[in-house]
Symmetry: C2
Subunit: 339 residues, 2 copies
């Protein structure tokens, strides 16, 4: 239908772009093959829908030289990460693409490859969206829609004094990966191996949302959220939303081998790991008497989780205890803020 408007190089016409994206909609009837104006979701009885939108822009959320496959992956992953922390399972997504210049067929195909890899991993389909051209950075606005059993969404504002705070995976790797991408020479200074460097960069470029943790969160968590703007800032948000205080034991925050090596050489770097962004791990507040069961369920699901602190009676305040037992002075607002 659109062959007459396509060339081998630059894609001509919105419909040529949509034709490349259409295979990503196969298998979801309400996507109408991307040929209608809207998408349709028929929710399963007994479920509710969980929605999140988080645009990613070149130069802000990814680097201009990043591969299209990685950009596509990350655009989906950052939204799936939010759903996972709410105990939800991804169903489908809308994608609004804004290009400063018409993309080439080759670049667009690689971008579609990244979307396909991500949606197969996360179990969702493209169901609609929009493409336009405008000045400014390449931007992808994803709206991710997931499903959760009725009444079981895990909220941010429902942590209780006495809960144990858990974090999944390791914290700070992505911020180190970004720093290495910006200044590769630091790898030598930090004493990290080539393999560790690759790992840190992959944590920045290809975050793996903790979908496997969703069921354990629904079963055990008082409250949860994903860690995307820095652990300190996101924990502060969870405590404020819940009207409670909390203590973070910085020495208990899980670090990768590479991060541990860096902190061993330069202990002052720990603060940067706790406030860096792009972790896409889960922060969960678990009633004390369920903490062991949660940890066991997480382990059974293949997700490492670590106890990192405790929720205390309000008013909202976050105390951070350093590895030496002394208070660490980190401004609560530390972490990523666009403004």
């Amino acid at each position: 239908m659109t062959d007459d408007r396509q060339r081998h190089g630059t894609l001509r016409g919105e419909e040529a772009i949509i034709a490349l994206l259409a295979p990503l909609a196969e298998g979801f009837s309400g996507a109408f093959g991307l040929k209608d104006d809207c998408a349709l979701i028929a929710p399963e009885p007994g479920t509710e829908l969980v929605l999140k939108t988080d645009p990613v822009a070149e130069g802000v959320h990814f680097l201009p030289g990043d591969a299209p496959q990685d950009i596509a992956w990350k655009a989906l992953a950052v939204n799936v990460s939010d759903l996972a922390a709410k105990g939800a399972t991804p169903l489908c997504y809308l994608l609004a693409l804004s290009f400063p210049d018409a993309p080439t067929r080759e670049r667009m195909s690689r971008f579609v490859d990244g979307l396909r890899a991500a949606q197969e991993r996360f179990g969702c389909h493209l169901i609609g969206g929009d493409t336009d051209r405008r000045p400014g950075p390449l931007t992808m606005s994803v709206t991710m829609i997931g499903s959760v059993p009725q009444g079981q969404i895990v909220r941010r504002a429902t942590a209780h004094a006495g809960d144990t705070l858990f974090v999944s995976g390791t914290i700070g790797d992505a911020s180190l990966g970004l720093a290495l991408l910006r200044d590769p020479g630091q790898a030598g200074t930090w004493g990290v191996s080539a393999e560790e460097e690759s790992h840190l960069v992959a944590r920045y470029r290809r975050p793996e949302p903790r979908l496997a943790l969703a069921q354990a969160l629904r079963q055990y968590a008082s409250a949860a959220m994903d860690v995307s703007d820095g652990l300190i800032k996101d924990l502060d948000r969870l405590l404020r939303a819940s009207g409670v205080a909390g203590r973070l034991d910085a020495g208990d925050v899980p670090l990768s081998q590479a991060a541990r090596r860096i902190v061993a050489r330069a202990p002052q770097r720990l603060a940067g790991l706790l406030t860096g962004g792009d972790d896409y791990e889960v922060l969960a507040s678990i009633p004390r008497d369920k903490a062991a069961a949660f940890a066991a369920a997480a382990a059974a699901a293949g997700v490492p989780v670590s106890r990192v602190g405790e929720v205390l009676p309000g008013p909202p305040a976050l105390a951070v205890t350093g590895p030496d037992g002394a208070p660490m002075h980190l401004p609560a607002a530390s972490g990523w803020d666009h403004f």
Copy 2:
């Protein structure tokens, strides 16, 4: 919570912006006061959800000098227009805002006023979103979610040969309004009054989606879509999606008094009205034996509709007959395309 980071001028911190937006979420429990990471929709039994995302950007979809209230209105209206054409009723929306610079409190407040006016008119609530700062134009990405009775969505790809084609309201006014905004001197050349000029500009700035038509579309339409990229282009899309041909009688396309005056002076301008964008009217394909009932239902709902042509057996092709009865030669791809 965020007062310490606010100043009277520029808004400091994403949370200051969210605090201004939060009142727009009141009344929708699944919005969680914009204080959670995701929003929750509990669909009514017997309904399905209809989703649309369509970002609007300064300099592309609105003019740099446009008032924040108008920009906000239009950002919602263009998405509601799609839902209306599908027979759906708006429920809620997500809003991703990207600013090149931190907005002032005064400008942001006017923007919120426009959102409030629009969501009250359209019957929906803000339930979540995202704000960030990036280079490039001010951008608002709205994802609108509506509800439709199960199995009753009105699709684009289901028009049948023999159907009568209808258009709501009048066509081409917004394109004239945009032309007047770009070159106000044309009002004199065209012979339009100050009142007519205001009307045309308002059609561009404050489109009124045809929500009142949703029920009649569900009841009578084989297929429908909203007219946003020009009547010719959108009708061509409807015919191609449905695998049918069609005839548009250009002399029957409804024009406002101002547009009629302009075409009377300069008949060659008619083509521009048929291919201009931003109409936000509804194009509907109605079985011939239901055409009278549809027109009556539309009139009862307060929406003027006009018969403008007919759906014919395929293959897909669009013939446009001019007011003089002779074929008009308009390329089928005429209309707005970003690429």
